[in-house]
């Protein structure tokens, strides 16, 4: 069973993590299911982990218990959504998750932006919302404005400048009072 598991350690793992416009340590493991692996059979790695939606749905209780056993130290738990996942299925689970990540398979695949909007506006999710995958500096201001507050991204500190590309916007932001810019009247 182990052989069917794949823990992505390479690109995403190495990428910088920006949280609320500051670079922080990135200790997160991202669990991906190899094709054909039943979600219930996935073996969980130690430490902080993002699991696919299917694993969360199949093993919710295990995952929550794993955090309790840990006494709340380390072992943070999050899930990551693929562009085809329905964020509304998380309606009752938001309080059990430290992080919700949304995966961008390519820069031009904009489904993750709408997923973020639905999590923030529709479900009222206030926890960490992280963009992973094809995340590039020229899109950070858009990503932040739909509600992402964490980003796995390659590059040096200068990427942080991209958040300030625009000081005003025509659209209201998703999270009132937090990471918003001035809105055009």
């Amino acid at each position: 069973m182990k052989s069917k598991l794949l823990i992505m350690k390479e690109r995403l793992q190495m990428a910088k993590l920006i949280k609320r416009r500051a670079v922080v340590a990135n200790d997160w493991n991202i669990l991906t299911l190899a094709e054909g692996t039943p979600p219930a059979a996935a073996r969980l790695p130690y430490g902080d982990v993002l699991v696919p939606l299917a694993v969360w749905q199949a093993r919710k209780w295990d995952l929550i218990q794993r955090q309790w056993n840990d006494g709340g130290q380390g072992n943070r738990l999050g899930i990551w959504l693929a562009p085809t996942d329905d964020p509304l299925t998380l309606a009752g689970d938001l309080e059990d998750l430290d992080v919700i990540a949304v995966h961008f398979p390519a820069v031009g695949d904009g489904r993750g932006y709408s997923i973020a909007r639905m999590l923030r506006s529709r479900l009222g999710y206030r926890g960490e919302l992280r963009a992973i995958g094809a995340v590039e500096r020229d899109y950070l201001h858009f990503l932040e404005r739909v509600g992402f507050d964490a980003f796995e991204i390659e590059g040096d500190e200068s990427v942080l400048d991209s958040f300030d590309t625009f000081s005003v916007a025509y659209q209201p932001t998703t999270i009132p009072g937090s990471w918003q810019h001035e809105v055009a009247a």
């Binding site: 904009g110 858009f142 590309t165 625009f166 005003v168 055009a184």
Partner: protein, 564 residues
């Protein structure tokens, strides 16, 4: 017209700064070609056959004389002294240099213009009736709504990376001069029984490889809900539109595959969560934008102007120009005038810097310093006093802006074709020139009457060949330029997609085929019957036979029977 405030200016200025940095990083090798592509496209910068092309946005076709002068200046400094007006309120510069584009954008920003979202997989430049606000048949002026939509759609964070391009049009009334049904999203102005403004909403139209007319997805949308509803519709498209196949990713494919009813149901379901929310347009916000489109200081004039009527009777050339290029105005004593950008031997929609400056002068001398760009690649002066028409005509003639063919066969709509475009299979401009040469008699053109001829150099249909009375599509047949002939299309109400009538023909044969089709129409039409009505009445096969000159036998036989 709409005047930018500090926020509009800041957004455009910050966009220039952003693009300047992106261009710098690209030229320094910090951004790869693949990384730069989507960034430059969303700024209207294409890489074309010979050179990069910059597409400048003219939202809902509204242009001040000052802006037009700046455009002229830009073509002189950064290009070859001319530009190309497209079918969707854009001006294209064909010969720009990538490293100088940020400078162009900075110059545009000085006059509240930009090229934001004029290309790429995003919400494109919003279009509207070229006669919005002055047309006597409109239900309400669509421009304030188009402007509210423009603001909301500009740099919208959620909809910057859609499955494919997304085109939106606003029409002021039932004539649908904005061609809403060939757009991804079309808003047709309506009023409910209490007189409140709203829209009939059409979705999923588009030309290209698979031309489809938009389907009605809502019969009445209260105007205050414009942005809430748009957000719902765009979200459904963003999440559910196909992304696996470039040719199946337009909204039209989603609407077709779900069916208009199911698509509409999904949008409505999304909308229930947004309705009445923060994007609802308040009466104050609507009034503030409407104030920008208040009528200019019209004079109180009689309906008729004696000098104008006299000139029309005494000068045939003027009368012909009035008949085709002068349009009715809702205010007595005024008219709207098309300054034609169609001259034999010139690419349709092309305008030199000198022409643009002349048009700007005319807009100031004979109007309120305001112009429009039209879907048929012409410029329009929206407010001319009838008493000034004769003088305007004489001035416009000096600059080649008075070709009296608006709405007639020689007012050809064309994409740049194989001479410029790397996608084209065939050239369009030489074919246009041949057709215009063949139909150069004003008397003949006037007798033929209103007839729209559209030509595209490839299936992407930038020349809207599916929606001309006569459409011509350039194809590649065993390495040679060939042209398909399409009949019966129409982009305004009642919209229709044309049908291919038979085998393609060579470039040399096109004018003859067009001439036969026109001759057949003239022979068969009832008095004052337009082309599409004649076509519908006698059937496309009759035109098919005429076009390929295989009909004489059949028709002689029929006549014999009829006579016998």
């Amino acid at each position: 017209m709409y005047a930018y405030n500090d926020i509009d200016r800041r957004i455009v200025a910050e966009r220039v700064t952003q693009f300047r940095d992106q261009t710098r990083r690209y030229l320094a090798g910090e951004l790869t070609e693949d990384q730069f592509r989507p960034l430059r496209l969303q700024n209207g910068l294409y890489y074309e056959k010979h050179n990069p092309l910059l597409r400048i946005a003219i939202p809902y076709g509204q242009l001040s004389s000052k802006q037009l002068r700046t455009l002229a200046r830009i073509t002189r400094i950064y290009d070859r002294g001319y530009g190309h007006f497209t079918t969707r309120h854009n001006l294209q510069l064909n010969w720009v240099r990538v490293d100088r584009v940020p400078e162009i954008l900075a110059e545009l920003a000085e006059v509240d213009m930009h090229s934001i979202q004029s290309c790429g997989n995003c919400i494109r430049v919003v279009t509207a009736d070229p006669l919005a606000g002055v047309s006597p048949s409109e239900i309400a002026d669509p421009r304030p709504w188009a402007e509210l939509f423009r603001q909301w759609a500009t740099l919208h964070p959620e909809f910057a990376t859609l499955p494919r391009k997304f085109k939106v049009a606003f029409s002021g009334g039932p004539d649908d001069a904005a061609s809403t049904r060939i757009h991804d999203l079309g808003f047709e102005m309506l009023k409910d029984t209490a007189g409140n403004p709203g829209f009939r909403v059409w979705a999923g139209g588009g030309l290209g490889r698979t031309p489809i007319l938009g389907r009605m997805v809502r019969d009445f949308l209260p105007a205050a809900e414009l942005l809430n509803y748009s957000e719902a519709l765009l979200r459904v498209y963003n999440l559910q539109g196909r992304r696996d196949n470039l040719y199946k990713s337009r909204l039209k494919v989603l609407v077709q595959s779900l069916g208009a009813e199911e698509f509409s149901r999904r949008v409505e379901a999304e909308w229930t969560h947004l309705r009445g929310g923060p994007l609802t347009l308040t009466p104050e916000r609507i009034a503030a934008v409407m104030a920008h489109f208040a009528a200019p200081a019209y004079e109180n004039l009689p309906h008729c102007d004696a000098r104008f009527e006299l000139a029309r009777r005494s000068d045939k050339g003027f009368a012909a120009w009035v008949a085709s290029n002068v349009h009715a105005h809702r205010v007595p004593g005024y008219a709207a005038v098309t300054l034609s950008l169609k001259r034999p031997g010139k690419a349709p929609g092309d305008a030199s810097a000198q022409t643009m400056e002349a048009a700007a002068d005319l807009a100031e001398r004979f109007g309120f310093g305001e112009l429009r760009t039209s879907q048929t690649q012409n410029l329009i002066l929206p407010d001319v006093k009838k008493s000034d028409l004769y003088n305007l005509w004489q001035e416009a003639k000096k600059f080649g802006l008075a070709t009296a063919t608006v709405g007639l066969l020689a007012d050809v709509v064309a994409c740049p074709g194989g001479d410029y475009c790397s996608l084209a299979y065939a050239r369009t401009l030489p074919v246009v020139a041949e057709i215009q040469a063949r139909f150069s008699s004003q008397t003949e053109l006037a007798d033929i009457g209103p007839l729209r001829l559209n030509i595209s150099g490839c299936v992407n249909a930038c020349g809207h060949h599916h929606v001309g009375d006569i459409g011509i599509l350039g194809i590649n047949k065993a390495g040679e330029e060939h042209y398909q002939i399409i009949l019966g299309g129409r982009s305004t109400a009642p919209a229709a997609i044309g049908k291919v009538i038979g085998p393609s023909v060579s470039a040399a044969e096109v004018p003859e085929v067009v001439a036969r089709i026109v001759a057949h129409y003239r022979a068969c039409r009832y008095p004052k019957e337009n082309f599409s009505d004649t076509l519908r009445r006698i059937g496309i096969s009759s035109f098919m036979s005429a076009a390929y000159a295989i009909e004489e036998q059949t028709f002689d036989n029929e006549r014999e029977v009829a006579n016998g």
